[in-house]
Assembly symmetry: C2
Homo-oligomer: 352 residues x 2
């Protein structure tokens, strides 16, 4: 039970964000040279960054990194996705070769790309950007048995946490969560249903783009999995092991490590949202360090974000994953911090 | 009528964007290493940038500038805003001194700030960042007489166009429109009603934050102005002269000059949206070069954007103006262009 103990310890390191700093940021916003409240969600964002850092103004996060966590899924055997399993490894290679959407967008916003293989089923060549910590070569089919055991789930989670800690140690001050794993919206839907109590009809969507027939089959698979395991949301690691993916576990680890270190974490789409529910179960205060980068087109995303109490910053109909939607929100966080730090006060205006 | 002729000439220089390039961009998106359509609005953005530039992939706009157009308003005498007129000049000085929200956000996204005084009523010291082209010291009260005459409206428009042309000449490849002018949501509401035919109840809002009583008075003022002038949307310059502000005119000029030069123009909130209706009236193809940076909280914004056929990129409850919401969308345009230029093709993935 070594890894499960370490997860508990990490979750225990997450302290509540500094609400007094958030209050001071809101007061400062009222004094800045603009009509009160006129920067809308950017003001809320600034206050939350103040709470995360404990500072007013909050430091401008200038060294962002996306952690793309990759794994494969036994449930793919049930036909929930039209893409073959080998695409997971091929896309990991593409991340290393700078050819994916996440690479283009990371360059555009000035973020690093880190790739973590916690459970890809296909062999991969070594690459400096790729951290290999393969817990097992993909999960089992969650509709027939637990996707993994508790120790495996805990190991994958701690592997994500370790990657985040290493990045923070090297200067990263803003983490973005990303994912790759053919079939991974099925475990995401199961996790969202398990933690929110909402039925699979409301949490299961078309993922990368499936037809009506496959969608109906996919919902049935999620229903079967929930009926088989009867997940208990008060045992988040148990839910994760029964229903999750290895990359979902790793993302929960990135979140907990970021929160424990007082580093803001921007969530990408539904995979990250479902992993954040695991993190919330383990450490309820972790949501205070989270920013919903965007609202994924996948229906489980809105359900999860409501449960997390997070309002998405962008709504662009994205459903790609990889961290793309989280990265696109990074400039908004940077601007929100700068506004608090650089604007003059209303009382300093020269009215002649 | 010299300036009115020059406006017509400029409007005539706006040619339709290259729809074949947009089509090629959409085809390229289908071939990139991701599920088709999975980048949602970012794909539409890339296609529109291709149409604007005529190139696939479109060049990444790396030298953005916001043009903050400033003017004062005779209608302020009617009590439509709680802020005194002198705030316009004080904020222009603040833009020059790097202390406003637009400065902080421009720095954050790497954009230049250019300030254009086309009609501030208070004297201002010279500053290298400030271009002074004051057509008159503020407009007349639109609810009692025309805000300005046609020649003044045309001069203010050409002054915005000249500023945009100068910036483009110095390397700027992305324009953002911004505004400053105490009282300027009242003429914006009147313009939106005049061009869309929608009643003042649907186009007039709380601006920088007014109470119910002032809102009711403001709607009445817009109604009076529309009844007095009976604006004809087929005479856009006449509508602008009767109901607009000098900064609205200048922004219409920035839009037309950008469109004529094939440079993308990102709109800020309701002032820019209402100016875009003027530009659309003068040159219907100009909307093909426009990007709606965000949806302002001011109700006329949604009405105007619907009429322009533009979908806002951000929805953050902003109602500050200055160009802030337009600037926040700049990283999305840059990312959209990079995605088209830098991603590998699906057929190049190595599936083992």
């Amino acid at each position: 039970m070594a890894f499960e103990e370490r997860v508990k310890e990490l979750a225990g390191d997450v302290i509540p964000p500094d609400e007094r700093a958030a209050e001071r940021a809101r007061e400062r916003h009222l004094a800045l040279a603009k009509p009160p409240g006129s920067l809308g969600a950017i003001e809320d964002l600034g206050a939350k960054l103040a709470a995360v850092s404990g500072k007013v103004p909050p430091p401008v996060p200038g060294d962002a990194a996306v952690v793309v966590c990759a794994g494969d899924h036994g449930v793919l055997e049930r036909g929930v996705s039209p893409w073959p399993r080998e695409v997971t490894a091929a896309m990991v290679a593409n991340f290393c070769g700078d050819g994916a959407a996440v690479n283009a967008i990371a360059k555009s916003v000035g973020a690093r790309v880190s790739v973590l293989d916690v459970g890809v089923a296909t062999d991969l060549p070594r690459h400096p950007r790729l951290r290999t910590a393969r817990v097992r070569p993909g999960t089992d089919d969650l509709s027939r048995k637990p996707a993994m055991n508790r120790e495996e789930a805990a190991r994958a989670l701690m592997s994500g946490a370790g990657t985040a800690e290493e990045l923070i140690g090297s200067g990263v001050d803003l983490l973005v969560t990303g994912d790759m794993g053919i079939g991974n919206t099925t475990p995401a839907a199961a996790l969202v249903s398990a933690f929110t109590g909402r039925p699979p009809q409301e949490t299961t969507g078309r993922g990368t783009g499936i037809n009506d027939e496959t969608l109906s089959l996919k919902r049935g698979v999620v229903e079967e999995a929930l009926a088989l395991h009867g997940p208990d949301p008060d045992d988040p690691l148990g839910v994760l092991a029964a229903l999750g993916g290895l990359e979902h576990a790793a993302i929960a680890g990135v979140i907990l490590a970021g929160a424990a270190a007082g580093v803001p974490v921007v969530l990408d789409g539904v995979i990250s949202n479902s992993a954040a529910l695991v993190a919330q179960g383990l450490a309820p205060d972790s949501t205070g360090y989270l920013f919903a980068g965007h609202l994924s087109a996948e229906p489980g995303a809105a359900v999860a974000l409501e449960h997390l109490g997070l309002r998405p910053l962008l709504d662009l109909g994205l459903r790609l994953g990889e961290g793309t939607g989280g990265l696109l929100a990074v400039p908004l966080l940077q601007a929100a911090a700068r506004v608090l730090g650089e604007m003059a006060l209303l009382e300093d205006l020269d009215l002649g």
